[in-house]
């Protein structure tokens, strides 16, 4: 998805000379073309995530459009106060683009896992929170939101799903309406597992790429069904629960550090969001209901 990020930004920069890239020592080689073509609009500022965000806010205050980009836990959890105050409270807009969220860096262990980003950022006023699941979704959502004057968070993934669909910012997608009394809900790349696990089961399947603002109207349509949220992060479940008076259960991140290494697939299996585990849980629920 990072390659798509570069492709879209290169294209946008042709038409918009306000774009300024502020990178924290990642994707620097990938953006070599950009840095050579626009040397005064590309800055690798090294390893100082708090200041990346503050500088981005300052750049935005003068009417330019920053893309602040580095690894998810450091730019969101470590720099939460800078995002809260320098961007959201001051309403200096701009784009925060992370990579390596959830377990994309599985082998690096718990210091590099990041599954609270969506949940903590969505608590901030003025911000938009987006988790594209595929390269196409990233391209569409980046183009529609990058210049909206608001702080906007894009969470890139190294493991996009391969399900093709039309997407629009702020709108959830009904992948399957079986008229069932169970609705399986997910967001981002995990859709790949969820769809493989559930597409032939008697359940509805909803998909979200925009965590804030979440598509409340769509959730309302399924309010009388049992909602099962599968997600490799916090944030979507909480957004859905805010509607109130729903029957919602959450599957994904446990209340303990995921202190294993290995691969994304291995960690997903361990915490029960691999294809088989999802299928087993959903099947059990459908049997209970029938």
């Amino acid at each position: 998805m990072r390659k798509q990020f570069k492709k879209t930004v290169m294209d946008l920069a042709l038409k918009n000379d306000k774009i300024v890239l502020i990178f924290g020592d990642v994707s620097v080689y990938l953006f070599k073309d950009f840095s050579e073509k626009y040397p005064d609009r590309f800055y690798n500022m090294g390893i100082c995530e708090n200041t990346l965000v503050s500088v981005g806010a300052g750049v935005s205050s003068r009417g330019l459009i920053p893309f602040i980009h580095t690894i998810a836990p450091f730019i969101t959890e470590r720099s939460f106060e800078q995002i809260k105050l320098d961007m959201c409270y001051n309403n200096f807009g701009g784009n925060i683009v992370s990579c390596g969220a959830s377990f994309d860096y599985a082998w690096d262990g718990a210091t590099h896992h990041c599954y609270t980003d969506l949940a903590i950022l969505r608590t901030l006023p003025n911000i938009e929170v987006i988790q594209p699941g595929s390269c196409k979704e990233l391209d569409v959502l980046l183009r529609s939101q990058y210049d909206n004057g608001k702080p906007t968070y894009f969470r890139l993934s190294d493991h996009p799903h391969n399900i093709d669909m039309e997407v629009e910012f702020g709108k959830g997608v009904v992948l399957k309406d079986a008229g069932a009394d169970i609705t399986v809900v997910t967001a981002g790349p995990l859709l790949g597992n969820v769809w493989e696990a559930c597409s032939d089961l008697p359940v509805n399947v909803l998909y979200f790429h925009t965590i804030k603002p979440v598509d409340k109207e769509l959730i309302q349509r399924y309010k009388d069904t049992k909602i099962m949220v599968f997600h490799d992060a916090f944030g979507l479940y909480e957004a859905i629960c805010e509607l109130g008076e729903l029957s919602v259960s959450r599957y994904g991140i446990p209340d303990e550090f995921c202190s294993w290494y290995g691969t994304l697939a291995e960690i997903r299996e361990k915490i029960g969001i691999d294809v088989k585990s999802i299928r087993d849980v959903v099947k059990r629920s459908t049997k209970k209901r029938s």
Partner: protein, 260 residues
Amino acid sequence: MIPECKRIRENILKISNKSGHGHIPTCFSVVEVLYALYSIIKCDPKDPLYKNRDIFVLSKGHAALALYCILAQFGYFDIKKVYSLGSFMSDFGCHADRFKVPGIEVSTGSLGHGIGVATGMALALRIQKSQRHVYTLIGDGEANEGAVWEAIMVASDLRLSNLTVIYDNNRSHPRGLQIQKPVEIFKGFGCDVAEVPGHDIAVLQQEFKKRADTVRVVVANSKKGFGCKTFIDNQYEWHRKSPTDNELEILMRELDEKAV
């Protein structure tokens, strides 16, 4: 102390007395710095957003009351409005809000943020090939925050010659950790550094006009509570205390005496 700065200190004391708010000794240490700055920067109090203005960011956000009194002195608004300081519907909070107060460029309060935002502003103005200059005021207590040094490192690496960082060296270290040898430290980060007396307006004005080929740091050696003996002698007690009517009388009298 020049009469204008004495009047500003009187306003700080009276507003704190009426409102029950304000970090007075912190405010007193930067009165001359702010007065000197606003007397030389490009700005228009009648049109605070005029497009060629220089930019000032109060990173040391606790000194908001001093900045309000300076802005009022220079004609941005009537000082009477500031008497509502810290009350529910007031535009004038104990930390400044850029959406409420004319002349405030960035809402600050939490320490270590303004300098990073100012760095970004200077970078943007350089990209835009603007001649405008960015100033930010940080405190030595604030410099306990790691983000201050991140920003200095970035500003220096980018050689932001359109950024001046004013370091209020008011020795507030009893409250925080002492930054040993700030001049040498800033030099070590690659900044162009000047060290000046923090209450000498002519010297400060001269330093604020100077430019270098990289970020400039003006270390202003000030006194916390400058102007009133009571504050100098009792820094801990007065960090965030407002004077009673009786105390106000004593403090106003002290201001009339030769500055300590």
